[in-house]
Amino acid sequence: MPAFADALVTDDLTILLGLVTASIFLLSNLYKPQPLVHPILLGRQSDVSRVRNPGESAVYRYYGTGIMGRFPVRPQRDVHTLIDHIKPGVDAPRTLWSTKITNNQIRERVIHFGAGLRRAGLKSSSNVLLLLNDSLEFLITDLALASQGIPSFTLSSPALLAPVLDVHPPTAVIIDASFLPHALEHVLDSAEAAHHVLIVLGEPDAQTTARAARGVRLVRWPDIEEEGRQSGVTELPAPPGSESVFTVSFYRDEEGNMQAAKLTHENLTAGVAAIRALVPPQNPLTALDTVVSAHSLSTAYGRAIAYTALLEGASFGTLEGTKLYKSDINSSPRPLDDLFTTKNLSLPSATMLFIMPSHLNALVNAVLERAKKSFIFPVAWRHKLSGILDGHVTRESLWDRLVLNDARVAILGAVAATLRGVVVSGGPLPADLLTPARIALSIPLVHAFTHPISTAPIFASHPHDLQTFAHALPVAHVGPPVVNIEVKMKGVDDAAIERGEDPVGKLFVRGPPIGRLMDDEDSTTENEGQEPWVATGVVARAQTNGSFAILEEGS
């Protein structure tokens, strides 16, 4: 008894310690930041169909759309064709590459250029090969051709020029002057060269001009626009139907064969709708944003990013690495240098970046190398990582202010303060880059999977997804399908699925953003009146939480 009473003797120190204990207990339990997205949502990212065919997996859709839901086909009610992305009522200027321009001015230039093209002899049955680098002139050309109903051809790489000219000779070629010397031989050799019109943007050297003028009609790009202005046309022609093809995008698939994806206006508006849904809904894209893209406008995805920025009234620019058509076609800038080439443009500071894994890798390594110079970096890393394991990350924490912000400003400059979202796609993202990227950038990071057949990414992860697993796959997962695409896998092992393993198989996709291949070999129609499933040629694996991982491509 006395021993017991002795044990419980309290004094003033006990009261002090007791108060400290109580306050620490309350603080640590109540002042815990919430995860940015509730983990229950990350456990069910796709909606899965209840039935599957033998040898195939179930059909997966984005959870918000649901198996019975309708796919969004356009971002807003009256956006049906390309030119509808340039709203006539809005008059605030924004910067496109280096030009400050308003919507009405763009529309006016599109009307003039379209009229000029018609006067140059192009008809709706003509095909125009677009060999321009990403610039305001590319957009005006694209919009003019689309609103006149003249399909354009684009190439994902200059090496496709010869095969395309062989198989699908175009009526006219719109080309960048620096690429003209390389392309001239092919163009002159191709069939019906004498009837061709060659529209050149920029000033080619005298020798090339002389050679070209002998075989084909050579016109300057500004002259076409000037002719159109003088023709007095002030209205756009009747809009084409949204199911009409506005471009054919040529690319090389995983086996190295050349494929042609026919994209309609509806494909593009659906792609814009999906890309708009990539950013967190609390902070959508607005006219105050500046979008910088590393994906060339000659690809379906690059086009869709540009039109998303145009629709929202944001400023837009592309990196130097997107230039396909230049005098030295084999040189490309190093990823980190490429990221900063927008400094040469008079764009406002970038707020959204659509980049490739190589850019992200270079950026994250540069920022962390710089941050390691501080002696409290290990403690900062430890605290940031513990926050990420709890599901929250912010750029305004103490450790950012002490360590990371200086590193970001040193590498990125003014962009460090304005950057608010990064979307990475265009190749496999190594899984061990995820945590360093989340710590170095501390902003919503979306990892997506794109394919040349689709204007939207096929898969895109949740922007606030910070889950970290001990035994993840070597390649980062890419999340669930986007809002308007459904996927399934063929060639799966039925017995393995019945045992409960992850389905692995060749990926097939369907939905409004998916274009049609020129030669429809692998697509299959299962029911009458339904769109066919399109083969992508990649192997995908579905995880139990509805996110996907793309395994080695082409097998």
Binding site: D12, V20, I497
Partner: protein
Amino acid sequence: MSFNLSTPLNTALLVYILYQAQRIFFPPNQIPEQTPSEFKSAYSWMPKLHPPTLLFTTFTPKTLEPYNGKDGGRILLAIDGTVFDVTAGRNFYGPEGMYGNFAGRDASRGMAKQSFDREMLTDVDKPLDKLQDLSPEEIENMRGWFEHFSSKYIVCGRLVENDAI
């Protein structure tokens, strides 16, 4: 005032304070080896199982018949060559249900004629009911029931003749 740390209560409180302080200044960075399968236990979790899916199977009247729910298993019925999984409607189509006759059988004629009698069903040994003697209104009625079933239950297979497989 006396500051005597050797009292057990003070020591216990001090130990707790030091432990919490250590967690605040050096937070845990452990990624669990075994991925948790409950969202309550951790933020980074993965469900244990995929959502259940049914395999689209081709049935014959003989292979369809066992799925009548009498052993507590799945309940299937067929309308117009399509097999529906009506396990969710055990109250209606189970052995004690009002329409229990239809379980595991081709219910097309019964749906068309709006009748649940045994005469509407064909024997499992006989060929499938061709429904040739039905009037257009009855076919229309069957179509209506087909639409109702398509939206309420899962399409999980098709029904073919006994010798087709």
